[in-house]
Subunit: 309 residues, 2 copies
Amino acid sequence: MINKLVEKIKKTGAPIVVGLDPMMNFVPEHIKKAAFAEKGETLEGAAEAIWLFNKEIIDKTYDLIPAVKPQIAMYEQFGIPGLIAFQKTVDYCHEKDLVVIGDIKRGDIGSTSAAYATAHLGKVQVGNTMCEGFHEDFVTVNPYLGTDGVQPFIDVCKEEKKGLFILVKTSNPSSGEFQDRLIDGRPLYEHVGEKVAEWGEQLMGDSYSYVGAVVGATYPEMGKVLRKIMPKSFILVPGYGAQGGQGKDLVHFFNEDGLGAIVNSSRGIIAAYKNEKYANFGSINFGDASRQAVLDMIADIDGALKQAK
Amino acid sequence: MINKLVEKIKKTGAPIVVGLDPMMNFVPEHIKKAAFAEKGETLEGAAEAIWLFNKEIIDKTYDLIPAVKPQIAMYEQFGIPGLIAFQKTVDYCHEKDLVVIGDIKRGDIGSTSAAYATAHLGKVQVGNTMCEGFHEDFVTVNPYLGTDGVQPFIDVCKEEKKGLFILVKTSNPSSGEFQDRLIDGRPLYEHVGEKVAEWGEQLMGDSYSYVGAVVGATYPEMGKVLRKIMPKSFILVPGYGAQGGQGKDLVHFFNEDGLGAIVNSSRGIIAAYKNEKYANFGSINFGDASRQAVLDMIADIDGALKQAK
């Protein structure tokens, strides 16, 4: 799956991923109205609204991008109907041949991580039958529990040819509270980065490992160091756009081959129509606003990468 | 909810929680047969099997215990039908007046943690209507992202009078890989423990905070230190029984008031009938084996606490 991701990035020329994180206040009124008319102001109605919203954005952007990253929390908040919309979104993205990164940030003790890995990347045995639950291509994993909490994910990835992005340095303001603390003179995130590189060695694709990392766009200097610590790990970079990261901050996350990073934008793309810059599209054409925002993001990153050369 | 938990622990004399983590190989053949006959060897069949399994164990133990802890991964692995069984289990435990600790180990950047908190502890607005997704009483939270990843959970707890257990020192073998690393001469888990105590100050119940901690039974010496660092935090202690923890290891997790800790056992209780010690019950009476295992666990801990006095 890492090979497919690399190939699709090369083909689209877009090292970006659209974060499908549908907050209710991102969904235009006409979509909500239609969904609530059909299913009421219920979890089912909310789920229908976010599904219709997602579908339009996917339809308007899928040919430009290699991958999407649905944040499962935004679906989980609508209970079972929300998770059905998550699954529907994953399936629809697969129909459109997009790589799907499930942003689930799971992580637990061994047997429990194995169940999460099965849930999102693998197959589960029921009697004599193998069944599938959710089926993303990559998932994000929290490393706080150490190797035996991560290995079960790697084991399933080996079997299924799927991949991981391990949290190393997150994009949020207080990520430094623990992640930046010095251990033997170096921040915790560097130690985690070293482990990611080590874990990744057991599962290499053609040029990059199936085991990647998450490093926030909001910390470009740290990204530069981590790029060197994990040369074969793809870096998933959140925090571009709404969280403050810009194209010029991103160059250090890439390798000299122009690869090695994939930059996420969520609300900057999916709620573009709410941004003054794209207001002329109107909320009815929110999908077209998202398409334009994708094109602008590709140009921004491409420009920054070219300038850095 | 922390007050209710304390009250129920006093009433039952049982500082224990039954981990409802139904692995497929724990479920007796006659249950699987009935479930698969009705729903096939499908995710729905698996979900029906684990629900029937849970129900019997709850029916046979609810009067002895204050709380249960369903591990959501074990349900998530069966996709949407599995999560429906999770919700059914939570609801049924509430009918039996049990405190429900959702072992979900979520944690993300602020807006995403807010969505998880809403999903599991709060209410979500759909149009003009407030809806509820899952509705546990407590959840477990991963602290790797720092304060702004935890605060949204605390905010929802304030509103809903619900509580948290933050991962501090986990029970698994490689938990020390990052958690034990020294920062300013003290292990990371102590720094996290200090934060838990600080976070907990803003949300105090009568005698304990709504913000508790997870510390594994497998590390009793560390539990002793953490008990002192977080005097007002309830400690959820996994790792008893199958993972190797014993009654005598647990005394340091408790305060002098005999409270402050709640010890989890999962497979030691729910799969008791597979243990030689309880084999005489037979798989058909697996619920009775679980009841006996609960009684034995209460006696083990009670004996250890009395001996320590």
